[in-house]
Symmetry: C2
Subunit: 316 residues, 2 copies
């Protein structure tokens, strides 16, 4: 298989690239390095089956050219910053919706017929059904990030119908693991590294969140591509468990051996558009034979180990 991976230097994209290369596939990776990191590609860079293209997904000629000859596109690049959507209302539209339109157009021009897309459980907004299945009631968006990913899903589905493309849409919970670079675990880690005696927490600590380890996530994506063959294949990816923000704080403090004073900002949401309870119904992906290997606690601890190695206290 010749895979094209957008966002190949990012957290999920680089882990996916490594996995594809290890499985013997050729990979063309595309990244603009706006948030991606070259060091995440240090293994890939030593592999003769890997080609890196530095490019902007808004630059159509470069994108079309780079994608030539691919069998499948993994569209992982995104503005994944859910929390600050209202600070820059156009960013999600441009970096997610418009970019996905470009990826689909480049596929159409290059006659590539399979796309795997990193969507999000945020497309459910605040679902009335928890755990939330893929066919839960028509969602109402609560964030510009979720709205942009919903728009991407719709575009992919319309291209599947109109241009004989097979779409694999994965609605992720928050992903943890090696190369995790943003989100509340890294925020807490950095706060505690700077000031072990004090931790500022958005919301009241009672928000219920779901997490999945990046390797479990990639297992699920690759399995779905192998086993599912509808025109449009949509899968929730998460674990059957959730934790509260307070649970994760407990694990982090235990792991780091600190006992900070907790300062809650208050309210049942961490920010505008935050969802106080995320739990996805993942029976559909399980029915293909997938199961997560890591618990949420394992994933948090593995992420902390990675952060301690990559961002040690003395380096700052």
């Amino acid at each position: 298989m010749r895979a094209f991976v957008t966002g190949c230097a990012g957290f999920i994209g680089s882990n996916l690239t490594d996995r594809l290369l290890r499985a013997g596939h050729a990979v063309v990776g595309y990244d603009d390095f706006s948030t991606g990191r070259l060091e995440f590609l240090s293994d890939a860079g030593r592999n003769a089956s890997f080609t890196l293209v530095r490019g902007d997904l808004l630059d159509m000629p470069t994108l079309i050219n780079a994608m030539q000859g691919a069998d499948v596109v993994f569209h992982i690049a995104a503005n994944a910053d859910v929390r600050f959507g209202t600070h820059h209302p156009r960013k999600d539209l441009e970096q997610n919706t418009l970019v996905t339109s470009n990826v689909l157009e480049a596929m159409r021009v290059n006659r590539i017929h399979r796309i795997a897309f990193a969507s999000t459980g945020s497309v459910y907004g605040e679902s009335s059904v928890i755990p939330t299945p893929e066919d839960s009631p028509f969602p109402i968006q609560t964030s510009l990030y979720g709205a942009s990913k919903l728009a991407c899903e719709g575009l992919i589905e319309a291209y599947c119908e109109g241009f004989e493309i097979y779409g694999y849409i994965f609605r992720f919970v928050s992903i943890l693991g090696e190369r995790y670079t943003h989100g509340h675990i890294v925020d807490f880690y950095r706060q505690l590294r700077e000031s072990p005696g004090r931790l500022c927490v958005l919301g009241n600590g009672k928000q219920k969140k779901s997490y999945l380890h990046v390797q479990d996530c990639i297992d699920a994506m690759l399995l779905a591509l192998e086993k599912a063959n509808r025109k449009v294949n949509i899968f929730n990816l998460g674990t059957d468990e959730y934790c509260t923000v307070d649970d994760s704080i407990g694990w982090i403090c235990q792991h780091l051996g600190v006992n900070p004073k907790l300062e809650y900002a208050g309210g049942d949401r961490g920010w505008i558009g935050d969802n106080p309870f995320i739990l996805l119904d993942c029976r559909r992906i399980r029915s293909l034979g997938w199961t997560s290997k890591m618990t949420i606690k394992n994933s948090v601890e593995n992420t902390l180990q990675y952060l301690q190695q990559s961002e040690p206290a003395q380096s700052k």
Copy 2:
């Protein structure tokens, strides 16, 4: 009320403008006349409460300036051409999704807090639930038009959450009535005007379609704005009945006094992304006290009367 109406020179926009003016409201109408017609504003143009701005919705400075001082925005402008989406895959994205983002940004800048949006039953794709309610299962898009309108809905909802805007989203069936300018009734009318002995029909004639008269549609929108007050208010707008394409052909032939040979293209869909059965569950808007005054047959006949007056056979 000071209303801002996008697409004010179009079919629905001009009828809405006339109704708002008749009800004593001030209207600023915005249109680029790409498909709008100046003659549709002949009544409005004589009303001192009407201001016309010729402008492109992609031109932000002009849009922001024109919208100043409005209490409510009726965003009716759109690329409403469902059938030819795959011929120009960017058009729906640009004319619907990007334009709606601009309208919302202009509202944010101008601190305008109410938007009524002309969406479509096409956002349901091919729903597994018929009649289709507003909270039917998470839809899968089948057209670039539907995908673009779904993206608009998501953007509006996210702005409602993030910027204290009240959103009124109306999912229309196909609308008929005076100033109707495109769609299958006008296609059939024009074909029969040119060649009364022959009618080419896309699909097999068995597709089940829903229609609503433009005045019933406007009644419902204005009632919802008056009576519904949630942050996000979503309403299907349609009738409880449907007709087959063959039914509408029968009414048209009877009205025109012709008996053409019918030539079916075949298949259960008229084009890629066509939905073979559209019927919306409209109990939510009915619960506010609205009911349609026109049957589908009445609406078709009224539309034909309009077409006969505005596009008489001898004029071509």
